[in-house]
């Protein structure tokens, strides 16, 4: 057995290129796959920590007028019998500039099952409550504090502004970037005096809100895990694609290695090695390769994940408000799973090889023609399988068409996958057919005819690499168009929504004074006050049905003045835009696309919302796009929101006359009302931040996309290089017949360039179909918004050029070698034949 294995492996000593290609394929495939899995595992761990006790989420009590709560107010509520607990929230900045969330709690009143399972004498509670207090922190945050895990417990890191944190205690169950300490210690660090950020109570502990307060129930809000599910599904799909493309390479390499060892295998069989032993030896070879490739792949995957994670974490933070740790946290299942996927993939890719080795005919000789007839059967099978995939895709599309929008994320991926599979499977039969047709057409031009016939002979080996290239090109095009289209739409939308050059973000109780003061300023032409609140959507009345539910939603109030209404983007209105806005001013509402999609709402439907003074039933007159917002939102006029829901002001946009001195107004506002520096922001700043968030959202998508294309190009290059030697065998006789070398080299380049061009051309419609699947099905289900289909001809041209460029590059090296080969070597090829 050992001898058989050594003999088999000796092949790779003579052809190290093949070994490199095999390992490269395995390495790339498992690196991309395991990198993405590492990111997902880390994010899930972070969610799990935040989710762990979601069952005990809390109701919140806030002042109706938005004013700050104070300590004696809290005592008064407790003494009136309300089981509320104070929370103090703020940010602290570490010396390396990281912003950490600081939360001060009162463990004595915080509702929790059996909260104080300890006596008042417990040393840990005393340490938490008394100087020097304690900081509970997850190990993820230690890097930001400049600490190693080993010396963290008990350390008292100094903050950027000079304050010191109380001694640290590690709590791995806490979400990343969060510090928890006693409210007394937090109040000192934040210098917040008697102020409280919010009051919380156990769910349902308060039956009604006391006068002057609003009660927000911790109802059916989705956990970050659910919200981000779609994002991770997107990542996983990309990872799977990378794995498949990588395995294409592996299969090509394995096929080649077997083809070249057929003679050796026959010799071994003739020498008495049983078929079973041979298969076992080949399996062992696969296992060996799999373990090496898989392990290196996983190691690189972890590195890749570490590189991408900050962007992923930032995206999840800005899109969903979910905190994800910046350091990888990988359970043992991850490592086993990664290796299992690599080995499983390799086995799948190698199963064909094993099957052929097992049925090896001892007597038959390796013949290209025999191979070709086998390939014909294979082409038929591919066409049938491709048809099957297409049928599945079509079926899924039909099914999806009958589903309400927003459903069927998995089915959407299914459609895209089926489309890709069908196209990939149809590519070789299609090419074979085209070549056959062209050969027929070129029967008067012998050299062209030869080239086409030769191409048919090369097709079996090239087809896999071409399939990989097709899949990668189409995906690249699809994802590229989706991201580009989103970018165009998003920036437009941002321009339409941000009409004021200045935005004020002041404490809620200052807006009245600011508004009065601004009313007399000549340079201010319009004041756009916004208000925000939260409530529960209780019922929906549509012409067809009426249903009740309990859904937490955001309320957003805007001032529908002359500067806002002409630009504010609307997707869908009841009548025309002017009448929608007129109704809006009189108390009708608009809903965002996310809410409309999730609850299947359209203009004309009526919503019943919980309001402080009884429920409010309001009519929807329009749906508006609201990119980047994970939750459902109801929009109404600011003055209506104030009157009906007692919502506090949240910001104010200032529309200024031309030639107004922005800087002077800004300074006057800051000094007059004692506002902090970041209380007034200009439009450019807000746009910059929004664009930055957007860019980060797609960094990973783009990075993976480019990597996938690179892998596919590598696959093509590898397959062409692998057969470079045999190409010389094919070309030498033509040279001997008098065809000049230059022409032969050109012919060679034209063959491959043509094949790549055909693949690239097929990739374009496929890419458009994928874009459609992404924007119209997957995005709606994943994010709740639909994007217009944008196509970018420039990008398509680049894609096409990439395909041809890669093919020419790959063909150039063998061509160059042929060009440089001495006549003697070429003649030797001839005699060899």
């Amino acid at each position: 057995m050992t001898t058989v294995l050594t003999t088999l492996l000796s092949h790779y000593r003579r052809h190290p290129g093949q070994l490199v290609m095999l390992l490269l394929g395995l390495w790339v495939a498992s690196a991309l796959w395991s990198g993405i899995q590492a990111i997902n595992a880390t994010a899930r761990d972070s969610y799990a920590r935040a989710d762990a006790l979601f069952a005990t989420e809390l109701d919140q009590l806030e002042r109706r007028d938005g004013a700050t709560l104070s300590r004696d107010e809290y005592h008064a509520l407790r003494q009136a019998g309300l089981p509320v607990s104070p929370l103090l929230e703020g940010n602290v900045v570490t010396q390396d500039g990281t912003r950490l969330t600081l939360i001060g709690i009162d463990p004595l009143t915080l509702p929790s099952e059996n909260a104080l399972g300890q006596a008042g004498t417990s040393s840990s509670l005393t340490a938490f409550l008394t100087p020097p207090w304690q900081t509970r922190v997850a190990p993820d945050a230690l890097t930001a504090l400049g600490l190693e895990r080993g010396n963290a417990p008990g350390a008292t890191p100094t903050l950027a502004e000079g304050g010191k944190l109380p001694p640290l205690t590690l709590s791995p169950a806490l979400p990343p970037n969060t510090l928890i300490m006693d409210i007394a210690a937090a109040a000192r660090l934040l210098a917040s005096g008697e102020a409280i950020t919010r009051l919380v109570a156990a769910p349902g502990a308060l039956t009604t809100a006391p006068p002057d307060y609003t009660l927000t129930r911790a109802t059916s809000l989705a956990s970050p895990g659910q919200l981000t599910e779609s994002f991770h599904l997107n990542l996983t799909a990309l990872g799977l694609l990378a794995l498949v493309v990588g395995l294409f390479i592996v299969q090509a390499a394995l096929g080649l290695a077997l083809e070249q060892r057929l003679g050796m295998l026959r010799t071994l069989r003739v020498l008495g090695v049983s078929g079973r032993t041979l298969v076992a030896a080949l399996s062992l070879e696969l296992l060996l390769l799999g373990v090496i490739g898989g392990l290196t792949g996983i190691a690189s995957g972890v590195w890749l994940a570490r590189w991408l994670l900050p962007d992923v974490a930032a995206t999840l933070g800005s899109l969903y408000g979910a905190d994800v740790g910046q350091t990888l946290s990988l359970p043992w299942q991850y490592w086993m799973g990664g290796l299992a996927v690599s080995l499983g993939g390799l086995l799948l890719a190698g199963s064909g090889v094993l099957w052929r080795a097992a049925r090896l005919n001892v007597l038959s000789l390796g013949q290209m023609q025999a191979w070709r007839s086998g390939f014909r059967r294979q082409l038929t099978l591919m066409s049938i399988a491709g048809g099957l995939a297409a049928a599945i895709g079509l079926g899924l599309t039909l099914w999806l068409a009958q589903q309400p929008p927003g459903d069927g994320l998995l089915a959407g991926f299914g459609v895209v996958a089926a489309l890709l599979l069908a196209s990939a499977l149809w590519l070789p039969p299609l090419m074979a057919l085209t070549l056959k047709g062209l050969t027929h057409l070129a029967r008067r031009r012998p050299l062209t005819q030869w080239a086409l016939a030769d191409m048919q002979l090369q097709l079996p080996r090239l087809s896999l690499a071409m399939m990989a290239l097709l899949v990668a090109l189409a995906t690249n095009l699809g994802v590229g168009s989706m991201v580009g289209g989103f970018r165009v739409t998003f920036l437009d939308w941002l321009d339409q929504r941000l009409v004021a050059p200045l935005y004020i973000n002041a404490p809620a109780d200052q807006y009245d004074a600011i508004d009065t003061w601004l009313a007399d300023r000549p340079e201010v032409s319009e004041r756009l006050l916004t208000r925000r609140s939260e409530t529960t959507l209780l019922a929906i009345d549509t012409p067809d049905e009426s249903r009740s539910l309990s859904l937490a939603i955001d309320l957003y109030g805007i001032t529908p003045g002359e500067s806002l209404t002409p630009h504010w983007p609307l997707l869908n209105t009841l009548d025309d835009r002017p009448s929608a806005w007129a109704a809006f001013d009189n108390g009708a509402v608009f809903v965002n696309e996310q809410l409309a999609t999730a609850e299947n709402l359209s203009p004309g439907d009526r919503l019943t919302l919980r309001a402080p003074n009884g429920n409010e039933t309001l009519t929807i007159t329009a749906v508006y796009p609201d990119y980047g917002n994970p939750s459902g939102q109801v929009l109404m006029a600011s003055h209506q929101l104030a009157a009906r829901f007692e919502a506090p002001p949240s910001s104010m946009g200032l529309v200024l006359h031309e030639n107004a001195n922005v800087e002077a107004l800004r300074n006057a506002l800051t000094t007059r009302f004692g506002l902090s520096n970041d209380a007034i922001s200009d439009q450019r700043e807000i746009k910059r931040i929004a664009t930055e968030i957007f860019e980060r959202t797609f960094t990973i998508t783009r990075a993976l996309n480019v990597l996938t294309l690179a892998v596919a190009s590598l696959a093509l290059l590898a397959s062409l290089l692998a057969q470079a030697r045999s190409r010389r065998q094919q070309l030498a006789p033509l040279w001997a017949l008098g065809v000049p070398r230059a022409q032969l080299a050109r012919l060679n380049l034209a063959q491959l360039g043509g094949a790549a061009l055909a693949t690239g051309l097929l990739a374009i419609p496929l890419g458009i179909a994928i874009t459609w699947g992404l924007v119209a099905v997957i995005n709606v289900a994943a994010f709740g918004w639909r994007l217009p289909l944008h196509l970018f001809p420039g990008e398509m041209a680049v894609t096409l050029a990439t395909a041809v460029g890669v093919a020419l590059l790959a063909a150039a090296l063998p061509a160059l070698r042929f060009w440089r080969a001495s006549p003697r070597a070429l003649l030797a090829e001839e005699t060899h034949q």
């Binding site: 935040a50 762990a52 006790l53 005990t56 989420e57 809390l58 919140q60 004696d72 005592h75 407790r78 003494q79 019998g81 929370l87 969330t101 939360i103 001060g104 709690i105 009162d106 463990p107 004595l108 009143t109 915080l110 509702p111 929790s112 099952e113 059996n114 909260a115 399972g117 300890q118 006596a119 008042g120 004498t121 417990s122 040393s123 840990s124 005393t126 938490f128 409550l129 008394t130 100087p131 509970r136 709590s171 169950a173 806490l174 979400p175 928890i180 409210i183 007394a184 109040a187 000192r188 919380v200 502990a205 039956t207 809000l221 989705a222 970050p224 969903y320 408000g321 905190d323 939750s631």
Partner: protein, 398 residues
């Protein structure tokens, strides 16, 4: 919104953690420092001693207020009541104070900073029912306290007001500023059908009673003890809510006031404490601390240390010496997985009484952060079996 919610959720994470990390050390503390750490070393605190004799009326009302320089203190009310249909009903309301550090280590009284930890227990018992609730609070003894909204919990002497949140014992509206009677007690817990609690009017029908040597009550043979006085003569009227239903009640109550810095000897594991209203108008307080007595018992903990006070209907108190009291457990019941003596024999030689004391319902376990048994008892003459009175029994360390 989501981010905010996540943050809220985090909150609930920390407490179980704190509880878990606290558990192990707690158990050790209980073993080495008596029940609930009450035998912990009290260095830096003021110590209760015989030379701090309480005198009436000079020391009052200010002794009713908190003594933050001492480590522990309580305001402890038990009541044996009857509802309108004659059904007996027991209740308890206790406010515990514990200093978090000796006076010299107190933090500055910045907002929220605390040097006092408060804990309140309430219980209502009727038949097989036993409803218990617990609250916690914090305060700083040096913070300005001009109105009750300035602190979550506290006790002021004049006009008397002891509170933790809405659980409050305070001088009735028509009482004089310095008076300790009549008092109004309110405490409620739960919502809807599970709501329970009480609003009671307490009127003292006798004087305050000082235990031990003019209020210094020795608790161990080594001389450790506490300052301890009672008001055993409460007449109580009011309303009790149980299972969401409210009914009128009336009966007798007993309020204990006790503060010290080291209540137990480190060798003492718990106590059995009786406060009895006898039908002839006498009151009897008797306790035994298990361990910490003289070395007559051949155990590591030492013999039980007993003490008590015999109170005449007029309020004259005679301290009872440890060898004057014989206390014998007669039967145990299994409550909350523990064997607790629920029938006792109590003999006081000097006043020639021999009593059978029995808890009619054994399930009076207080499943609070510091668990103990606290419930109503019936008193019978041991020889004749004649009913002689009622009272409350508290047992800790089982």
């Amino acid at each position: 919104m989501t981010a905010r919610l996540i943050r809220l959720v985090i909150m609930s994470l920390i407490l179980p953690l704190a509880a878990l990390s606290g558990c192990g050390s707690d158990e050790r503390a209980e073993q080495s420092a008596g029940f609930a750490g009450l035998g912990q070393d009290a260095e830096g605190f003021q110590q209760a001693a015989p030379n701090q004799a309480l005198t009436f009326p000079d020391d009052f009302p200010h002794e009713h207020a908190a003594h933050p320089d001492y480590r522990i203190e309580w305001w402890y009310l038990t009541a044996n009541l009857e509802d309108v249909s004659g059904e007996p009903l027991g209740l308890q309301w206790t406010l515990f104070r514990q200093a978090l550090m000796p006076p010299s280590e107190r933090p500055e009284p910045t907002p929220w900073a605390a040097d006092q930890l408060w804990m309140a227990h309430m219980a209502i018992s009727q038949g097989e029912q036993h409803q218990v609730a617990e609250r916690f609070g914090r305060s700083h003894s040096q913070a300005e306290l001009s109105q009750s909204h300035d602190a979550q919990a506290g006790v002021v002497a004049s006009p008397f007001h002891a509170w933790l949140d809405d659980w409050q014992l305070q001088a009735s509206a028509d009482a004089d500023d310095d008076a300790f009677s009549p008092l109004t007690l309110t405490a409620y817990s739960g919502e809807g059908a599970s709501r329970f609690g009480y609003t009671l009017e307490l009127t003292a029908e006798g004087p305050l009673v000082f235990h031990g040597e003019e209020g210094f009550s020795q608790k161990a043979a080594n001389g450790q003890g506490s300052m301890y006085y009672s008001q055993p003569f409460w007449q109580i009227e009011g309303d009790v809510t149980l299972n969401g239903e409210t009914k009128a009640v009336s009966g007798r109550g007993w309020l204990d006031r006790e503060w010290s810095s080291q209540l137990l000897d480190a060798r003492q594991s718990g106590w059995d404490w009786f406060s009895l209203h006898l039908d002839d108008g006498h009151k009897l307080m008797a306790f035994q601390l298990r361990g910490g007595g003289d070395d007559s018992a051949d155990t590591e903990q030492g013999a039980a240390y007993r003490s008590g006070t015999w109170i005449t209907p007029q309020g004259d108190a005679s301290p009872l010496a440890t060898d004057d009291i014989t206390l014998t457990p007669l039967a145990t019941s299994t409550v909350a997985g523990r064997d607790v003596p629920t029938r006792w024999r109590l003999e006081i030689a000097s006043v020639a009484i021999d009593l059978n004391i029995e808890a009619p319902h054994a399930n009076r376990w207080m499943d609070t952060s510091v668990p103990y048994w606290e419930g109503e008892v019936r008193v019978n003459d041991r020889a004749s079996g004649e009913p002689m009175g009622e009272g409350y029994l508290e047992m800790t360390g089982y």
